[in-house]
Amino acid sequence: MNLTLKVWRQKGPEDPGRMVTYQVKDVSPDMSFLEMLDVLNERLILEGEDPIAFDHDCREGICGMCGMVINGVPHGEQKATTTCQLHMRHFEDGATITIEPWRAAPFPVIKDLVVDRSAFDRIIQAGGFISVPAGSAPDAHSIPVRKEDADAAFDAATCIGCGACVAACPNGSASLFVAAKITHLSLLPQGQPERLSRAKAMVEQMDAEGFGGCTNTGECTAVCPKGIPLDTIARMNADYLKANAK
């Protein structure tokens, strides 16, 4: 198949950036989206042009490194699929595809489609953990966990930290990411001692990083490759309220 790509090109943080159009020919429907870009990049290199920079690593949908806004949708329109797991068979021959980076002030563009997501790490630093130094843990079976709680915690824990939620949110809010971690830890007995202080610290850090507030539009869940549910945000709000009531 043949495609027209309109790709965001930006040399560096200071460059204003622009959309550039490329024609890509002979794309196999079995290619992944990133492989299609690989093919384009190989040609760009040979023509002496700078290839399109994009982040990726595992190419299995688990590391959370990849991510671009494809035709206006983070990770593309295919549901529950990361960019690296998206395949070209979902596109029509002759289609025009726009490709843009995540757009949010706390995710400044480094180059082309590569953005800086270190804000997420700082939110985890603020409290997204259980304080338990190595060697201090009791036997694993001394803390039974209800299966339902363990499963729900797991659902939240599957967040891969890709940032698509932020990219999709009309408010540029990181609520879903933050709520996923808060929910994961607050559903487990191990997470109880730090539960409220964690919620408070993480929400405050999210604000300090410059993310927007959530107005419950639900765009985030809709694009989340791991389908993190919206009720995690309710849980985060509840914990945050409780923390402030204390």
Binding site: W8, V69, G72, A119, A208
Partner: protein, 253 residues
Amino acid sequence: MTATIERGTATAPVPSTTAAPPAPKPRKRPSGFLGSSTGKKVVMAVTGAIMVGFLVLHMLGNLKIFFGKDSFNEYAHALRTLAEPLLPYRTVLTVLEVILVASVVLHMWAAVSLARRARRARPVKYVAKKSQAGGYVAHIMRWGGVTIALFVVWHLLDLTFGVVNPKGYDSAPADRMIAGFQPGRWWVTLFYLVAVVMVGLHLRHGVWSALQTLGWARGGRRRMLQVLAGALAAVLVLGFLAPPLAITMGFKG
């Protein structure tokens, strides 16, 4: 290969201050609960709830017009003489009005400050953007809010102060209302209709959103609460629209 360079719409410069990645940003703590985005949302939810409560009562009151002008006037009078003689004329109503005004102001303040925060969070717009959540109501909250605010101004001038009402200020509430919605003033009714539908849409999202903000929309409850919000919004719309439509269409008068 031909690379056509094109200037898209999304060419606002990216602030360079945030560019250096590893340097941890100083933790600028916002000032307390009200400074936090979640805190502001709670303010919106609580003030929104107060306003919803008012609207429910207001709607019920309005429906009294169907029991005759006197019933309606009595109700309007009763409002002003609540808790008399313990408290002077109009005290409770004034307190309620103050709460209401405070709610409106706080609600708007929170809405504006969240909107500004959201704008700062996305300084560069997408060239292409497609909604995936399929709920347009959530995206028109701010416009809905502004429409409602403009409506309330008109509405107060009309039915409370009578400035734009044919009967003027010195008249019984029921007369003002009936006069205001005479068939010849169909455009007023139409304006109310639009506004009330806006209120309905605002609440369809707003009510469940408030519950989510307060942390109650957990577990499997979300679907149910969303349906509930829709039902409440529908009841309000119908209840509010019944009197003016009835008057305009001449069933009453």
